[in-house]
Protein backbone atom coordinates (compact mmCIF):
# COMPACT_ATOMS: atom_id res chain seq x y z
CA UNK A 1 0.00 0.00 0.00
CA UNK A 2 1.39 3.43 -0.87
CA UNK A 3 2.68 5.47 2.05
CA UNK A 4 0.45 8.42 1.24
CA UNK A 5 -2.69 6.33 1.61
CA UNK A 6 -1.56 4.91 4.94
CA UNK A 7 -0.75 8.38 6.26
CA UNK A 8 -4.12 9.51 4.95
CA UNK A 9 -5.86 6.80 6.93
CA UNK A 10 -4.05 7.76 10.10
CA UNK A 11 -4.98 11.39 9.54
CA UNK A 12 -8.57 10.34 8.93
CA UNK A 13 -8.75 8.42 12.20
CA UNK A 14 -7.20 11.28 14.14
CA UNK A 15 -9.66 13.62 12.46
CA UNK A 16 -12.56 11.47 13.66
CA UNK A 17 -11.21 11.62 17.20
CA UNK A 18 -10.79 15.39 17.09
CA UNK A 19 -14.28 15.62 15.64
CA UNK A 20 -15.69 13.82 18.66
CA UNK A 21 -14.26 16.52 20.90
CA UNK A 22 -15.80 19.25 18.77
CA UNK A 23 -19.10 17.39 18.84
CA UNK A 24 -18.99 17.27 22.64
CA UNK A 25 -19.01 21.05 22.81
CA UNK A 26 -21.58 21.40 20.04
CA UNK A 27 -23.89 19.02 21.92
CA UNK A 28 -24.20 21.46 24.78
CA UNK A 29 -25.34 24.16 22.38
CA UNK A 30 -27.89 21.95 20.65
CA UNK A 31 -29.35 20.80 23.92
CA UNK A 32 -30.11 24.22 25.30
CA UNK A 33 -31.25 25.44 21.91
CA UNK A 34 -33.67 22.57 21.46
CA UNK A 35 -35.01 22.80 24.95
CA UNK A 36 -35.39 26.51 25.43
CA UNK A 37 -34.81 28.19 22.08
CA UNK A 38 -31.83 29.99 23.56
CA UNK A 39 -28.53 30.02 21.72
CA UNK A 40 -26.19 29.72 24.68
CA UNK A 41 -23.06 31.69 23.91
CA UNK A 42 -21.76 30.81 27.37
CA UNK A 43 -21.45 27.07 26.66
CA UNK A 44 -17.68 27.28 26.07
CA UNK A 45 -17.15 29.35 29.19
CA UNK A 46 -19.26 26.87 31.14
CA UNK A 47 -16.84 24.15 30.02
CA UNK A 48 -13.92 26.29 31.24
CA UNK A 49 -15.67 27.12 34.49
CA UNK A 50 -16.49 23.48 35.20
CA UNK A 51 -12.91 22.41 34.46
CA UNK A 52 -11.55 25.16 36.73
CA UNK A 53 -13.92 24.13 39.49
CA UNK A 54 -12.98 20.49 39.08
CA UNK A 55 -9.26 21.21 39.35
CA UNK A 56 -9.88 23.59 42.23
CA UNK A 57 -11.83 20.99 44.19
CA UNK A 58 -9.33 18.22 43.45
CA UNK A 59 -6.40 20.35 44.58
CA UNK A 60 -8.25 21.55 47.64
CA UNK A 61 -7.93 25.17 46.57
CA UNK A 62 -9.79 27.75 48.62
CA UNK A 63 -12.30 29.51 46.40
CA UNK A 64 -11.86 33.28 46.13
CA UNK A 65 -8.49 32.91 47.88
CA UNK A 66 -6.98 35.97 46.16
CA UNK A 67 -9.97 38.08 47.08
CA UNK A 68 -9.93 36.93 50.70
CA UNK A 69 -6.19 37.49 50.98
CA UNK A 70 -6.43 40.95 49.47
CA UNK A 71 -9.19 42.02 51.85
CA UNK A 72 -8.02 40.43 55.08
CA UNK A 73 -4.29 40.39 54.42
CA UNK A 74 -4.15 36.63 54.97
CA UNK A 75 -2.07 34.07 53.09
CA UNK A 76 -4.64 31.37 52.42
CA UNK A 77 -4.37 29.22 49.32
CA UNK A 78 -5.13 25.60 50.02
CA UNK A 79 -7.24 23.63 52.43
CA UNK A 80 -4.39 21.15 52.43
CA UNK A 81 -6.37 18.14 51.23
CA UNK A 82 -6.80 16.40 47.93
CA UNK A 83 -10.14 15.14 46.71
CA UNK A 84 -10.21 11.98 44.56
CA UNK A 85 -11.31 12.44 40.94
CA UNK A 86 -14.72 10.78 41.06
CA UNK A 87 -15.83 12.62 44.18
CA UNK A 88 -14.55 15.89 42.74
CA UNK A 89 -16.57 15.32 39.56
CA UNK A 90 -19.71 14.74 41.61
CA UNK A 91 -19.05 17.90 43.63
CA UNK A 92 -18.39 19.89 40.46
CA UNK A 93 -21.68 18.64 39.05
CA UNK A 94 -23.38 19.91 42.20
CA UNK A 95 -21.79 23.31 41.57
CA UNK A 96 -23.07 23.25 37.98
CA UNK A 97 -26.60 22.48 39.18
CA UNK A 98 -26.32 25.37 41.62
CA UNK A 99 -25.19 27.54 38.74
CA UNK A 100 -28.21 26.39 36.72
CA UNK A 101 -30.55 27.37 39.53
CA UNK A 102 -28.91 30.80 39.82
CA UNK A 103 -28.99 31.38 36.06
CA UNK A 104 -32.69 30.55 35.99
CA UNK A 105 -33.55 32.54 39.13
CA UNK A 106 -31.54 35.67 38.42
CA UNK A 107 -31.52 35.88 34.65
CA UNK A 108 -33.89 33.86 32.54
CA UNK A 109 -36.93 33.87 34.76
CA UNK A 110 -37.09 37.60 34.19
CA UNK A 111 -36.81 37.22 30.43
CA UNK A 112 -39.74 34.86 29.78
CA UNK A 113 -41.43 35.70 26.50
CA UNK A 114 -38.63 37.97 25.25
CA UNK A 115 -37.22 37.86 21.74
CA UNK A 116 -34.56 35.18 21.10
CA UNK A 117 -31.99 37.89 20.39
CA UNK A 118 -32.51 39.32 23.90
CA UNK A 119 -31.96 35.89 25.42
CA UNK A 120 -28.87 35.47 23.28
CA UNK A 121 -27.48 38.78 24.52
CA UNK A 122 -28.14 37.63 28.08
CA UNK A 123 -26.01 34.54 27.49
CA UNK A 124 -23.17 36.76 26.20
CA UNK A 125 -23.35 38.65 29.48
CA UNK A 126 -23.41 35.35 31.32
CA UNK A 127 -20.28 34.23 29.44
CA UNK A 128 -18.28 37.27 30.55
CA UNK A 129 -19.61 37.03 34.07
CA UNK A 130 -18.65 33.36 34.38
CA UNK A 131 -15.23 34.02 32.92
CA UNK A 132 -14.60 36.66 35.58
CA UNK A 133 -16.02 34.61 38.41
CA UNK A 134 -13.96 31.60 37.31
CA UNK A 135 -10.77 33.65 37.50
CA UNK A 136 -11.73 35.22 40.78
CA UNK A 137 -12.62 31.90 42.38
CA UNK A 138 -9.77 29.73 41.20
CA UNK A 139 -7.06 32.02 39.85
CA UNK A 140 -5.98 32.45 36.26
CA UNK A 141 -2.81 30.35 36.02
CA UNK A 142 -2.72 27.35 33.69
CA UNK A 143 -3.54 24.17 35.57
CA UNK A 144 -3.02 20.53 34.88
CA UNK A 145 -6.09 18.32 35.04
CA UNK A 146 -5.69 14.62 35.69
CA UNK A 147 -8.73 12.65 36.76
CA UNK A 148 -7.05 9.38 35.88
CA UNK A 149 -7.97 9.15 32.20
CA UNK A 150 -5.43 7.19 30.15
CA UNK A 151 -3.21 9.29 27.95
CA UNK A 152 -0.49 8.78 25.39
CA UNK A 153 -0.09 6.48 22.41
CA UNK A 154 -2.27 3.39 22.27
CA UNK A 155 0.27 0.60 21.90
CA UNK A 156 -2.24 -2.05 20.82
CA UNK A 157 -3.31 -0.04 17.80
CA UNK A 158 0.29 0.93 17.10
CA UNK A 159 1.41 -2.70 17.03
CA UNK A 160 -1.59 -4.03 15.11
CA UNK A 161 -1.28 -1.47 12.37
CA UNK A 162 2.47 -1.99 12.27
CA UNK A 163 1.80 -5.67 11.67
CA UNK A 164 -0.59 -4.83 8.81
CA UNK A 165 1.13 -1.97 7.01
CA UNK A 166 4.63 -1.88 8.41
CA UNK A 167 3.70 1.48 9.88
CA UNK A 168 2.22 2.06 13.35
CA UNK A 169 -0.67 4.51 13.68
CA UNK A 170 -0.46 7.08 16.43
CA UNK A 171 -3.80 7.18 18.21
CA UNK A 172 -4.03 8.89 21.58
CA UNK A 173 -5.68 6.87 24.36
CA UNK A 174 -7.44 10.00 25.53
CA UNK A 175 -9.11 10.38 22.15
CA UNK A 176 -10.38 6.82 22.34
CA UNK A 177 -11.78 7.43 25.81
CA UNK A 178 -13.36 10.67 24.59
CA UNK A 179 -15.06 8.79 21.76
CA UNK A 180 -16.50 6.19 24.11
CA UNK A 181 -17.68 8.82 26.55
CA UNK A 182 -19.24 10.90 23.79
CA UNK A 183 -21.11 7.85 22.50
CA UNK A 184 -22.37 7.09 26.01
CA UNK A 185 -23.34 10.70 26.55
CA UNK A 186 -25.36 10.82 23.36
CA UNK A 187 -27.10 7.55 24.19
CA UNK A 188 -27.99 8.86 27.63
CA UNK A 189 -29.25 12.17 26.25
CA UNK A 190 -31.37 10.51 23.57
CA UNK A 191 -32.92 8.08 26.05
CA UNK A 192 -33.54 10.98 28.41
CA UNK A 193 -35.18 13.19 25.80
CA UNK A 194 -37.25 10.48 24.12
CA UNK A 195 -38.29 8.06 26.81
CA UNK A 196 -38.58 9.87 30.11
CA UNK A 197 -41.33 12.09 31.38
CA UNK A 198 -38.86 14.89 32.11
CA UNK A 199 -37.42 14.66 28.62
CA UNK A 200 -40.87 14.84 27.06
CA UNK A 201 -41.74 17.80 29.24
CA UNK A 202 -38.51 19.45 28.11
CA UNK A 203 -39.43 19.06 24.44
CA UNK A 204 -42.91 20.35 25.23
CA UNK A 205 -41.50 23.48 26.85
CA UNK A 206 -39.24 24.12 23.90
CA UNK A 207 -42.24 24.00 21.59
CA UNK A 208 -44.88 26.07 23.36
CA UNK A 209 -44.81 27.58 26.86
CA UNK A 210 -48.57 28.02 27.26
CA UNK A 211 -49.41 24.57 26.06
CA UNK A 212 -46.76 23.09 28.34
CA UNK A 213 -48.26 24.90 31.33
CA UNK A 214 -51.71 23.64 30.44
CA UNK A 215 -50.59 20.01 30.61
CA UNK A 216 -49.03 20.56 34.02
CA UNK A 217 -45.38 21.22 33.21
CA UNK A 218 -43.50 23.62 35.46
CA UNK A 219 -41.40 25.93 33.28
CA UNK A 220 -39.02 26.83 36.11
CA UNK A 221 -38.23 23.24 36.88
CA UNK A 222 -37.65 22.33 33.25
CA UNK A 223 -35.36 25.28 32.65
CA UNK A 224 -33.25 24.54 35.71
CA UNK A 225 -33.06 20.97 34.47
CA UNK A 226 -32.01 22.03 30.97
CA UNK A 227 -29.25 24.28 32.30
CA UNK A 228 -28.10 21.50 34.62
CA UNK A 229 -27.88 19.08 31.71
CA UNK A 230 -25.98 21.71 29.71
CA UNK A 231 -23.70 22.12 32.72
CA UNK A 232 -23.16 18.36 32.74
CA UNK A 233 -22.26 18.31 29.04
CA UNK A 234 -19.97 21.30 29.63
CA UNK A 235 -18.30 19.40 32.46
CA UNK A 236 -17.66 16.38 30.25
CA UNK A 237 -16.24 18.61 27.51
CA UNK A 238 -14.23 20.51 30.10
CA UNK A 239 -12.69 17.30 31.47
CA UNK A 240 -11.75 16.07 28.00
CA UNK A 241 -10.29 19.33 26.73
CA UNK A 242 -8.75 20.17 30.09
CA UNK A 243 -6.97 16.82 30.23
CA UNK A 244 -5.80 17.25 26.65
CA UNK A 245 -4.51 20.80 26.71
CA UNK A 246 -4.54 21.97 30.32
CA UNK A 247 -7.15 24.08 32.04
CA UNK A 248 -6.67 27.60 30.79
CA UNK A 249 -8.56 30.55 29.46
CA UNK A 250 -8.32 29.38 25.83
CA UNK A 251 -10.68 26.51 26.70
CA UNK A 252 -13.55 28.94 26.40
CA UNK A 253 -12.56 29.53 22.79
CA UNK A 254 -13.34 25.95 21.80
CA UNK A 255 -16.89 27.23 21.68
CA UNK A 256 -15.90 29.05 18.51
CA UNK A 257 -15.01 25.73 16.89
CA UNK A 258 -18.46 24.48 17.80
CA UNK A 259 -20.14 27.14 15.67
CA UNK A 260 -19.16 25.70 12.28
CA UNK A 261 -20.07 22.28 13.65
CA UNK A 262 -23.55 23.55 14.43
CA UNK A 263 -23.96 25.22 11.07
CA UNK A 264 -23.07 21.96 9.39
CA UNK A 265 -25.18 19.70 11.53
CA UNK A 266 -28.09 22.02 12.21
CA UNK A 267 -28.82 23.79 15.47
CA UNK A 268 -31.69 21.51 16.38
CA UNK A 269 -30.27 18.06 15.87
CA UNK A 270 -28.29 15.91 18.31
CA UNK A 271 -27.14 13.51 15.57
CA UNK A 272 -26.34 16.64 13.56
CA UNK A 273 -23.93 17.84 16.23
CA UNK A 274 -22.13 14.49 16.16
CA UNK A 275 -21.97 14.15 12.38
CA UNK A 276 -21.09 17.83 11.98
CA UNK A 277 -18.27 17.45 14.50
CA UNK A 278 -16.90 14.39 12.73
CA UNK A 279 -17.05 16.05 9.30
CA UNK A 280 -15.25 19.14 10.57
CA UNK A 281 -12.67 17.07 12.44
CA UNK A 282 -11.93 14.77 9.51
CA UNK A 283 -12.30 17.54 6.94
CA UNK A 284 -9.79 19.89 8.49
CA UNK A 285 -7.23 17.18 9.14
CA UNK A 286 -7.48 15.69 5.64
CA UNK A 287 -7.51 19.15 4.04
CA UNK A 288 -4.38 20.09 5.95
CA UNK A 289 -2.80 16.81 4.90
CA UNK A 290 -3.71 17.02 1.24
CA UNK A 291 -3.89 20.73 0.41
CA UNK A 292 -1.96 22.25 3.31
CA UNK A 293 1.53 21.76 1.85
CA UNK A 294 0.42 23.42 -1.42
CA UNK A 295 -0.79 26.62 0.23
CA UNK A 296 1.78 26.93 2.99
CA UNK A 297 -0.16 25.11 5.75
CA UNK A 298 -2.18 26.43 8.68
CA UNK A 299 -5.42 25.55 6.92
CA UNK A 300 -6.88 24.11 10.14
CA UNK A 301 -7.42 27.64 11.36
CA UNK A 302 -9.88 28.55 8.67
CA UNK A 303 -11.12 25.38 7.01
CA UNK A 304 -14.06 24.84 9.36
CA UNK A 305 -15.31 28.38 8.98
CA UNK A 306 -15.13 28.36 5.19
CA UNK A 307 -16.99 25.06 5.14
CA UNK A 308 -19.65 26.56 7.41
CA UNK A 309 -19.90 29.59 5.15
CA UNK A 310 -20.51 27.39 2.12
CA UNK A 311 -23.19 25.55 4.05
CA UNK A 312 -24.86 28.79 5.04
CA UNK A 313 -25.14 29.72 1.39
CA UNK A 314 -26.51 26.45 0.09
CA UNK A 315 -28.18 24.77 3.04
CA UNK A 316 -28.76 27.25 5.85
CA UNK A 317 -30.62 24.77 8.07
CA UNK A 318 -27.61 22.42 8.13
CA UNK A 319 -27.56 18.73 7.32
CA UNK A 320 -30.12 17.64 9.90
CA UNK A 321 -31.74 20.88 10.97
CA UNK A 322 -35.43 21.50 10.65
CA UNK A 323 -36.27 23.15 7.41
CA UNK A 324 -37.87 26.53 7.93
CA UNK A 325 -41.14 26.64 6.07
CA UNK A 326 -43.06 29.87 6.11
CA UNK A 327 -46.77 29.43 5.53
CA UNK A 328 -48.19 32.35 3.61
Amino acid sequence: MPDQLIFGMEVFLNGLMAGVLYALVALGFVLIYKASGIFNYAQGVMALFSALTLVGIMEGQIPFAHLINAIFGTELHHFGWHVPGILAIVLTMAVMVLLAICVQKFVFRHLVGQEPIILFMATIGLAYFLEGVGDLMWGSEIKKLDVGLPQGINLAIDETTFGWFGYGFFIDNLDIVATIIAALLVAVLVIFAQYTKQGRAMRAVADDHQAALSVGVSLNFIWVMVWSVAGFVALVAGIMWGTKSGVQFSLSLIALKALPVLMLGGFTSIPGAIVGGLIIGVGEKLFEFAIGPLVGGATENWFAYVLALIFLVFRPQGLFGEKIIERV
Binding site: K197, A201, R203, A204, D208, S214, V215, G216, V217, S218
Partner: protein
Amino acid sequence: MLDASDSYVTEDGRTIGAVVMEMKNITLRFGGVVAIKDISFDIREGEIRAIIGPNGAGKSSMLNVISGFYNPQEGQVFYKGKQRPQMRPYQVARQGIARTFQNIALFEGMTVLDNIMTGRLHHTKANIWQQAFWKGKAEAEEVANREVVEKIIDFLEIQSIRKTPVGRLPYGLKKRVELARALAAEPSILLLDEPMAGMNVEEKEDMSRFILDVNDEFGTTIALIEHDMGVVMDLSDRVVVMDYGQKIGDGTPDEVRNNQAVIDAYLGVAHD
Protein backbone atom coordinates in the same frame (compact mmCIF):
# COMPACT_ATOMS: atom_id res chain seq x y z
CA MET B 1 -83.07 26.55 44.56
CA LEU B 2 -80.63 23.68 44.65
CA ASP B 3 -78.11 23.21 47.45
CA ALA B 4 -74.40 22.84 46.65
CA SER B 5 -74.51 19.13 47.39
CA ASP B 6 -77.79 18.39 45.58
CA SER B 7 -77.96 16.52 42.32
CA TYR B 8 -80.66 16.29 39.70
CA VAL B 9 -81.43 14.53 36.43
CA THR B 10 -81.77 16.49 33.20
CA GLU B 11 -84.50 16.03 30.59
CA ASP B 12 -82.17 13.94 28.45
CA GLY B 13 -81.37 11.67 31.37
CA ARG B 14 -77.92 12.83 32.45
CA THR B 15 -77.21 13.21 36.15
CA ILE B 16 -75.86 16.58 37.23
CA GLY B 17 -74.04 16.28 40.53
CA ALA B 18 -72.85 18.51 43.34
CA VAL B 19 -70.94 21.77 42.92
CA VAL B 20 -67.33 20.96 41.98
CA MET B 21 -66.06 24.49 41.51
CA GLU B 22 -67.29 27.73 42.94
CA MET B 23 -66.08 31.23 42.12
CA LYS B 24 -66.86 33.72 44.87
CA ASN B 25 -66.78 37.48 44.31
CA ILE B 26 -63.94 37.36 41.82
CA THR B 27 -62.44 40.71 40.85
CA LEU B 28 -59.56 40.93 38.40
CA ARG B 29 -57.81 44.17 37.46
CA PHE B 30 -55.07 45.00 34.99
CA GLY B 31 -53.76 48.29 36.29
CA GLY B 32 -56.78 50.57 36.17
CA VAL B 33 -58.83 48.32 33.92
CA VAL B 34 -61.33 46.12 35.70
CA ALA B 35 -61.60 42.98 33.59
CA ILE B 36 -63.85 41.08 36.00
CA LYS B 37 -65.94 42.77 38.64
CA ASP B 38 -67.26 40.86 41.64
CA ILE B 39 -68.48 37.77 39.84
CA SER B 40 -69.74 34.62 41.54
CA PHE B 41 -70.96 31.43 39.96
CA ASP B 42 -70.54 27.69 40.33
CA ILE B 43 -69.93 24.68 38.14
CA ARG B 44 -71.65 21.40 38.91
CA GLU B 45 -70.30 17.94 38.30
CA GLY B 46 -71.22 16.55 34.91
CA GLU B 47 -72.77 19.66 33.48
CA ILE B 48 -71.90 21.77 30.46
CA ARG B 49 -71.53 25.29 31.72
CA ALA B 50 -71.21 28.12 29.22
CA ILE B 51 -69.83 31.59 29.72
CA ILE B 52 -71.07 33.96 27.05
CA GLY B 53 -70.96 37.67 26.41
CA PRO B 54 -70.01 40.27 23.81
CA ASN B 55 -66.38 40.96 22.87
CA GLY B 56 -64.31 42.25 25.77
CA ALA B 57 -66.80 41.09 28.36
CA GLY B 58 -64.09 39.29 30.34
CA LYS B 59 -64.96 35.72 29.40
CA SER B 60 -61.44 34.62 28.57
CA SER B 61 -60.13 36.39 31.68
CA MET B 62 -62.60 34.35 33.71
CA LEU B 63 -61.36 31.13 32.14
CA ASN B 64 -57.79 32.20 32.82
CA VAL B 65 -58.67 32.75 36.47
CA ILE B 66 -60.13 29.26 36.71
CA SER B 67 -57.06 27.71 35.06
CA GLY B 68 -54.60 29.73 37.15
CA PHE B 69 -53.11 31.79 34.32
CA TYR B 70 -54.41 34.93 36.09
CA ASN B 71 -54.67 35.46 39.80
CA PRO B 72 -57.61 37.62 40.83
CA GLN B 73 -57.03 40.51 43.21
CA GLU B 74 -60.18 39.74 45.16
CA GLY B 75 -62.42 36.75 45.72
CA GLN B 76 -61.97 33.06 46.33
CA VAL B 77 -61.98 29.96 44.21
CA PHE B 78 -63.37 26.80 45.78
CA TYR B 79 -62.46 23.52 44.11
CA LYS B 80 -63.98 20.27 45.33
CA GLY B 81 -65.14 21.97 48.49
CA LYS B 82 -61.77 23.44 49.45
CA GLN B 83 -60.59 26.99 49.00
CA ARG B 84 -57.80 27.03 46.45
CA PRO B 85 -54.68 29.01 47.37
CA GLN B 86 -52.91 31.08 44.72
CA MET B 87 -51.59 28.63 42.21
CA ARG B 88 -49.49 28.55 39.10
CA PRO B 89 -51.07 27.21 35.90
CA TYR B 90 -49.14 23.93 35.97
CA GLN B 91 -50.30 23.27 39.54
CA VAL B 92 -53.91 23.85 38.53
CA ALA B 93 -53.44 21.49 35.59
CA ARG B 94 -52.09 18.81 37.94
CA GLN B 95 -55.21 19.18 40.07
CA GLY B 96 -57.26 17.92 37.16
CA ILE B 97 -58.32 21.07 35.32
CA ALA B 98 -57.46 20.82 31.65
CA ARG B 99 -57.98 23.54 29.08
CA THR B 100 -57.76 24.52 25.45
CA PHE B 101 -56.85 27.94 24.11
CA GLN B 102 -58.62 30.44 21.89
CA ASN B 103 -55.55 30.69 19.65
CA ILE B 104 -54.61 27.00 19.79
CA ALA B 105 -51.50 26.17 21.80
CA LEU B 106 -50.16 22.89 20.44
CA PHE B 107 -46.65 21.50 20.15
CA GLU B 108 -46.30 22.19 16.45
CA GLY B 109 -43.14 20.15 16.01
CA MET B 110 -44.59 16.95 17.48
CA THR B 111 -46.95 14.45 15.90
CA VAL B 112 -50.61 14.31 16.84
CA LEU B 113 -49.96 11.22 18.95
CA ASP B 114 -47.04 12.83 20.83
CA ASN B 115 -49.11 15.93 21.45
CA ILE B 116 -51.91 13.93 22.98
CA MET B 117 -49.43 11.85 24.99
CA THR B 118 -48.18 15.02 26.68
CA GLY B 119 -51.63 15.20 28.22
CA ARG B 120 -50.64 12.08 30.18
CA LEU B 121 -47.43 13.60 31.56
CA HIS B 122 -48.62 14.13 35.09
CA HIS B 123 -50.26 10.72 35.18
CA THR B 124 -46.82 9.17 34.80
CA LYS B 125 -45.57 8.14 38.22
CA ALA B 126 -42.57 5.95 37.40
CA ASN B 127 -39.28 7.65 38.23
CA ILE B 128 -36.70 8.73 35.72
CA TRP B 129 -34.54 5.58 36.05
CA GLN B 130 -37.47 3.23 35.65
CA GLN B 131 -38.48 5.08 32.52
CA ALA B 132 -34.99 5.25 31.07
CA PHE B 133 -34.38 1.53 31.59
CA TRP B 134 -37.98 0.49 30.91
CA LYS B 135 -38.20 -1.26 34.28
CA GLY B 136 -40.66 -1.35 37.15
CA LYS B 137 -43.94 0.38 36.54
CA ALA B 138 -42.68 2.28 33.51
CA GLU B 139 -43.84 -0.24 30.92
CA ALA B 140 -47.26 -0.91 32.44
CA GLU B 141 -47.82 2.81 32.80
CA GLU B 142 -46.83 3.60 29.26
CA VAL B 143 -49.17 0.91 27.95
CA ALA B 144 -52.01 2.21 30.09
CA ASN B 145 -51.34 5.79 28.96
CA ARG B 146 -51.28 4.72 25.37
CA GLU B 147 -54.60 2.92 25.79
CA VAL B 148 -56.28 6.02 27.14
CA VAL B 149 -54.85 8.07 24.30
CA GLU B 150 -55.89 5.59 21.61
CA LYS B 151 -59.42 5.55 22.98
CA ILE B 152 -59.56 9.34 22.71
CA ILE B 153 -58.12 9.27 19.20
CA ASP B 154 -60.83 6.83 18.13
CA PHE B 155 -63.45 8.86 19.89
CA LEU B 156 -62.52 12.11 18.16
CA GLU B 157 -62.05 10.37 14.81
CA ILE B 158 -58.48 11.44 14.22
CA GLN B 159 -56.98 7.97 13.64
CA SER B 160 -55.80 8.84 10.15
CA ILE B 161 -53.64 11.78 11.24
CA ARG B 162 -52.10 10.03 14.25
CA LYS B 163 -48.52 10.31 12.92
CA THR B 164 -48.85 13.71 11.20
CA PRO B 165 -46.86 16.63 12.63
CA VAL B 166 -49.40 19.08 14.03
CA GLY B 167 -47.90 22.01 12.14
CA ARG B 168 -49.24 20.55 8.90
CA LEU B 169 -52.86 20.18 9.98
CA PRO B 170 -55.68 22.53 9.00
CA TYR B 171 -57.23 24.75 11.66
CA GLY B 172 -60.30 22.66 12.42
CA LEU B 173 -58.28 19.50 13.04
CA LYS B 174 -55.81 21.37 15.24
CA LYS B 175 -58.71 22.40 17.45
CA ARG B 176 -59.71 18.78 17.69
CA VAL B 177 -56.18 17.66 18.59
CA GLU B 178 -56.08 20.29 21.30
CA LEU B 179 -59.34 18.94 22.69
CA ALA B 180 -57.86 15.44 22.56
CA ARG B 181 -54.79 16.52 24.53
CA ALA B 182 -56.93 18.14 27.19
CA LEU B 183 -59.09 14.99 27.40
CA ALA B 184 -56.03 12.76 27.72
CA ALA B 185 -55.41 14.26 31.15
CA GLU B 186 -58.77 12.75 32.22
CA PRO B 187 -59.67 16.08 33.77
CA SER B 188 -62.37 16.59 36.34
CA ILE B 189 -63.10 19.94 34.69
CA LEU B 190 -62.48 20.66 31.03
CA LEU B 191 -62.20 24.32 30.05
CA LEU B 192 -62.78 25.19 26.40
CA ASP B 193 -61.89 28.70 25.25
CA GLU B 194 -63.97 29.35 22.13
CA PRO B 195 -63.79 25.78 20.80
CA MET B 196 -65.65 26.80 17.66
CA ALA B 197 -64.03 30.13 16.85
CA GLY B 198 -63.20 30.50 13.18
CA MET B 199 -64.93 27.29 12.11
CA ASN B 200 -67.44 26.83 9.31
CA VAL B 201 -70.92 25.50 9.98
CA GLU B 202 -70.00 21.89 9.33
CA GLU B 203 -66.95 22.01 11.59
CA LYS B 204 -69.03 23.69 14.28
CA GLU B 205 -71.57 20.88 14.12
CA ASP B 206 -68.81 18.29 14.41
CA MET B 207 -67.28 20.06 17.38
CA SER B 208 -70.65 20.45 19.12
CA ARG B 209 -71.26 16.76 18.68
CA PHE B 210 -67.83 15.94 20.16
CA ILE B 211 -68.42 18.20 23.15
CA LEU B 212 -71.80 16.58 23.85
CA ASP B 213 -70.34 13.10 23.38
CA VAL B 214 -67.40 13.78 25.65
CA ASN B 215 -69.76 14.98 28.35
CA ASP B 216 -72.07 12.03 27.83
CA GLU B 217 -69.49 9.27 27.42
CA PHE B 218 -66.84 10.27 29.97
CA GLY B 219 -69.12 12.30 32.23
CA THR B 220 -66.62 15.16 31.99
CA THR B 221 -67.62 18.48 33.49
CA ILE B 222 -67.20 21.14 30.82
CA ALA B 223 -66.99 24.91 31.08
CA LEU B 224 -66.84 26.65 27.73
CA ILE B 225 -66.75 30.10 26.26
CA GLU B 226 -68.52 30.71 23.01
CA HIS B 227 -69.65 33.59 20.84
CA ASP B 228 -72.20 31.76 18.77
CA MET B 229 -75.46 32.08 20.74
CA GLY B 230 -77.25 29.36 18.84
CA VAL B 231 -74.56 26.80 19.57
CA VAL B 232 -74.35 27.73 23.22
CA MET B 233 -78.07 27.47 23.82
CA ASP B 234 -78.20 24.01 22.27
CA LEU B 235 -75.16 22.69 24.11
CA SER B 236 -75.22 23.94 27.62
CA ASP B 237 -77.14 23.10 30.77
CA ARG B 238 -76.55 26.47 32.39
CA VAL B 239 -75.20 29.76 31.08
CA VAL B 240 -73.39 32.68 32.71
CA VAL B 241 -73.70 35.92 30.75
CA MET B 242 -71.03 38.57 31.17
CA ASP B 243 -70.87 42.14 29.92
CA TYR B 244 -68.17 44.72 30.67
CA GLY B 245 -66.71 42.45 33.35
CA GLN B 246 -69.98 42.02 35.20
CA LYS B 247 -72.38 39.13 35.45
CA ILE B 248 -75.72 40.10 33.96
CA GLY B 249 -77.38 36.74 33.81
CA ASP B 250 -77.10 33.17 35.09
CA GLY B 251 -79.41 30.24 34.50
CA THR B 252 -80.73 27.74 32.00
CA PRO B 253 -80.58 28.74 28.32
CA ASP B 254 -84.32 29.51 28.40
CA GLU B 255 -84.05 31.74 31.44
CA VAL B 256 -81.12 33.58 29.95
CA ARG B 257 -82.79 34.01 26.59
CA ASN B 258 -85.68 35.86 28.19
CA ASN B 259 -83.51 37.97 30.49
CA GLN B 260 -83.94 41.66 29.54
CA ALA B 261 -80.39 42.62 30.57
CA VAL B 262 -79.00 39.91 28.30
CA ILE B 263 -81.13 40.98 25.37
CA ASP B 264 -79.98 44.57 25.90
CA ALA B 265 -76.33 43.58 26.04
CA TYR B 266 -76.54 41.62 22.82
CA LEU B 267 -78.89 43.80 20.80
CA GLY B 268 -78.14 47.18 22.33
CA VAL B 269 -80.54 49.54 24.06
CA ALA B 270 -82.43 52.34 22.37
CA HIS B 271 -81.37 55.71 23.71
CA ASP B 272 -84.40 57.92 24.04
